[in-house]
């Protein structure tokens, strides 16, 4: 049993089906990036996992505790940072965190020790006596993260932890999450794909309430149609080259992208995913004696995967 596993989760709001038959699991120690366009159902799924929204059908379990049968036990194992980080504005940072720690069942000296620990961890020391109302967005985000960390939960669910931050703050939060992943399993949602590529070891892409893909970033980018695409520029005859290249076993299609000034021809060779046709392509062109000035194998990014999976046109 993994840290999180969902079984046929559904959520409807009136007639609108926000989440359809979502099944995924997160193993202990993974950092999972939850991706999808706005309104895809990321936040809804996360809210269901935390027990805030009850699922219309299906269920899920956190660290082996069913969210419907043992909601309190499931919540004890997770720390949640909601989107936009709602906080009590009239409380001070330390006071708020101590209150949250007590709610999570800490008591006595344990509260002070634990709050001190998360304050250090999230770099809130200089703000511990400040009113939450006066904090900047970045510090609010840190308070939210500190709150999620209280009580050392095994699972952290972070809903857009870097939303609305400037690049420096994003970098700081990213570093923090990377550090946290040593002790916690992390499930985070974000729009910043480069971020996911950098820190996540598993990606779940959701669109229209359905899971489109769940795999490691490398696997996802590797299996993409765009993977293994090679673009070539050479000077010479078009038909012969296209015929020769088309005879290669891994090549699926050759697209002529037009001629460039100076007689250069530009081709795109679409091959099986995960193959490298650069060497054979170059060999064919040099055997024909044509000059070759550019050969490039396209490496798809997560962004390509995302766009390919969630495009609606």
């Amino acid at each position: 049993m993994g840290m999180v596993s969902t079984e046929h989760l559904y959520k409807t709001f009136g007639r609108f089906m926000a989440v359809k038959d979502v099944n995924f699991s997160v193993e202990k120690g993974e950092i999972v990036g939850f991706l999808g366009p706005n309104g895809a159902g990321k936040t809804t799924t996360m809210k269901m996992l935390t027990g805030y929204l009850p699922p219309t059908a299906g269920t899920a379990s956190i660290a082996g505790h069913d969210i419907l049968d043992e909601p309190l036990e499931a919540r004890r194992h997770l720390g949640y940072m909601p989107e936009n980080v709602p906080l009590y504005d009239e409380m001070r940072v330390y006071e708020y965190l101590a209150y949250r720690a007590r709610l999570k069942g800490l008591y006595g000296k344990g509260v002070r020790a634990e709050v001190g620990k998360v304050i250090d961890r999230c770099g809130l020391n200089i703000k511990r006596k400040n009113m939450i109302r006066t904090l900047s967005k970045g510090y609010r985000q840190r308070v939210g993260l500190a709150d999620a960390l209280l009580g050392a939960p095994e699972l952290l669910i972070l809903d857009e932890p870097t939303n609305g931050l400037d690049p420096n703050q994003i970098r700081q939060i990213r570093e923090l999450i990377r550090e946290l992943s040593e002790e916690h399993t992390v499930l985070l949602s974000t729009h910043i794909l480069s971020e996911v590529e950098m820190i996540c070891n598993k990606v779940i892409i959701i669109d229209n309430g359905e899971i489109k893909a769940a795999d490691t970033p490398a696997q996802l980018t590797g299996s993409l149609r765009a993977a293994g695409r090679v673009s070539v520029e050479y000077k010479g005859d078009l038909d012969i080259v296209m015929r020769e290249l088309g005879a290669l076993p891994t090549v699926k299609k050759i697209i002529y992208e037009g001629s460039l000034p100076g007689g250069w021809q530009r081709l795109v060779v679409r091959a099986e995913p995960g193959t490298d046709t650069r060497e054979k392509t170059a060999a064919i062109i040099s055997r024909l004696g044509y000059p070759l000035r550019h050969i490039y194998r396209h490496i798809p990014s997560l962004e390509d995967v995302f766009v390919e999976m969630t495009r609606h046109d």
Binding site: F13, K47, T50, G51, Y52, L53, P54, L72, E73, R75, R76, L78, Y80, P82, N84, P86, L87, Y88, D89, E90, Y99, R100, R102, L103, K104, G105, L106, Y107, G108, K109, G110, E114, D147, G151, A152, E183
Partner: protein
Amino acid sequence: MKSQEETPPGTREKSESEAVRRRTSWFATLRTLYLRELKVYLGTPFGWVILACTMVLLGFCLQAVIQIMSKSTGEGVMYYLLNNINFWFFFIFIFPLITMRSLAEEERQGTLEGLLTAPVTTTQIILGKYLAAYTFYLILWIPLLLYPWMSQLANLYTEYRYNITASGEIPYLLADWFGPYAILSLMGTFFIAVGLLCSATTRSQIIAGILCTSFMISFYFIGRVTELWGEFPAAPVFHYLSCTEQVSSFSRGLLDTRPVVLYFTLALFTLALVKRVVDYRRWSR
């Protein structure tokens, strides 16, 4: 708050990450929620403004009471204070003011999400808010107890300043004070619960306030129906529900168990309804 260190031996920390000791006491969580809510009333200007305004308005009432008492005596000061249209005029607005923000504001700010994703039950959240609002409501009536003492001070001052032995005195008589406090606390149990219910149905404090105010006004007038329509077959129901009549009998020292049952059952029923509403709003969203 005493620190409670009664972890049984053997459950002590095993590893670094296990070092966080937790307890899962239902009442400890309730107390945490209760104390925070109470802090909202007493630690921000919000509660103090209500308290100050209530005091000023009670002062106006006392002014009217002194006028009445100079002509007719026979009942205690609390009787005249509570059976006074001036009193009811602001009394029914106290409840919406106290309760309108409690759940509506949590919902608007989104902090309800944080609460409900902590290992806390809806019942604990609602009871915490209810008890805190009720405690604050009781605190509102504490300064009234100063009136007898203040009347003595005033007498001393008159004696010193004008050399007249003043006789107007508000005595501390258990008979005068117990009844009114009993009915005030009884009405509070139900009306605070109603306020909470109104606050649970919406995310806007204003709407919660309007709902609660209109309920309070209707409830007040239901109690006065018999004054308008006279006695008719269903009149006993209106007498039973009449908070003005209850206040009048209690503040004369006539204690009755019927309002005790009425308000306790209504309060319990309303609180159960609040829980339903909070859960329902989550389910239906």
